[in-house]
Assembly symmetry: C2
Homo-oligomer: 204 residues x 2
Amino acid sequence: MPATQLRAASPTGSRTGTREAILALALDLLQARGFNAFSYQHIADRLGIRKAAVHYHFPTKADLGLALVAHYRAQFEDWRGAQMEKGAGPLQLLRGYMAISLHFLRDGGKACPLGVLEAEFASLPPPLREAVTALDTELREFLAGVLEAGRRAGIFRFDGPAADKVLVITASLQGGLHIARAAGARSFTRMLRQLERDLGITND
Amino acid sequence: MPATQLRAASPTGSRTGTREAILALALDLLQARGFNAFSYQHIADRLGIRKAAVHYHFPTKADLGLALVAHYRAQFEDWRGAQMEKGAGPLQLLRGYMAISLHFLRDGGKACPLGVLEAEFASLPPPLREAVTALDTELREFLAGVLEAGRRAGIFRFDGPAADKVLVITASLQGGLHIARAAGARSFTRMLRQLERDLGITND
DNA sequence: GTCTATAACGTGATAGAC
DNA sequence: GTCTATCACGTTATAGAC
């Protein structure tokens, strides 16, 4: 998923896609290195522009962080919309959601943006913390609906509230992506299979 | 767990426990803020000494990181030794392990040291990465033994290899501690209950 | 073992020309 | 919208006195 980005120069020499290019690259850096471990300089170097140009689009790093969360949220909404349009069922939705994490892993060992920001939570600007909390809640509510629908339909089997099962699944996905850096990519695919076993999903 | 630390002045005005005090505080900072989000200055300020004194004990931050992993590993070995000494069974061992994470959470919303370092993995000095990988492997091997013994004894019920189930549990614990920063402490205790349900443990 | 002082660098951020 | 130039600050790290 190279993401939707740049190219499409305006009549002048300026590129109207710079803002989007910054967002796409910054999201990559966030997922690969963490919010505190990438800088405006890194972005400028890899985009072939100057730091000041980055500051023009995102005056402070808190602004950039907020835009990153909004960007990721928009990507999720797009994905959800596409799934709904093709009438995906609970199993397809859950596996599709897991596949997103798998794509992150295979794209250079990236982690979940939310998982990264929550790991660095205490050092984040307060407005960014609030945005993280809001998106985290939204994602878990979506997944709880998927799990509950799947259980009613006899596709998933688990005890307890769907909201609690969601906590195990999202924590596993976020934590599993981090562990995979130390334990290898195979650890994550094995973990995914175990998550399915724990839901009573039988693989032929 | 205020940790074992300082006090016990030597004949001169110097404290022989400075090294241990640095380690204890740095571990706190690592778990609360992350490896990239605490500095020698933070340590010096809170200990009432100068930065140079910290560098005397741990010349580079990589040295400090390696010592932190060794320190945490020693704490785990102590805990494991105490459990073995009192003949703890699989359920007691698993719950004791989960309780460690719960203590972290309640001690100011700290996370697992390994979970934090794995989240920042790409930005860590290579030697530190290797130490993280080694300890991560050791902890999962220990837990796999606990799970397998518990399954044989009819205490735990789960499908698939114990090593895979361990991946779900450790990823859940590490990820759950991060999510708790955004979702609140209750999310973590609910997740722990779900982990027990998923192991067929019945709570009266 | 701890201190003062400083070096060398990277960071987020701003001013003002083009 | 991007540039050059600069600032103020925090960072890791070292030298040398006490």
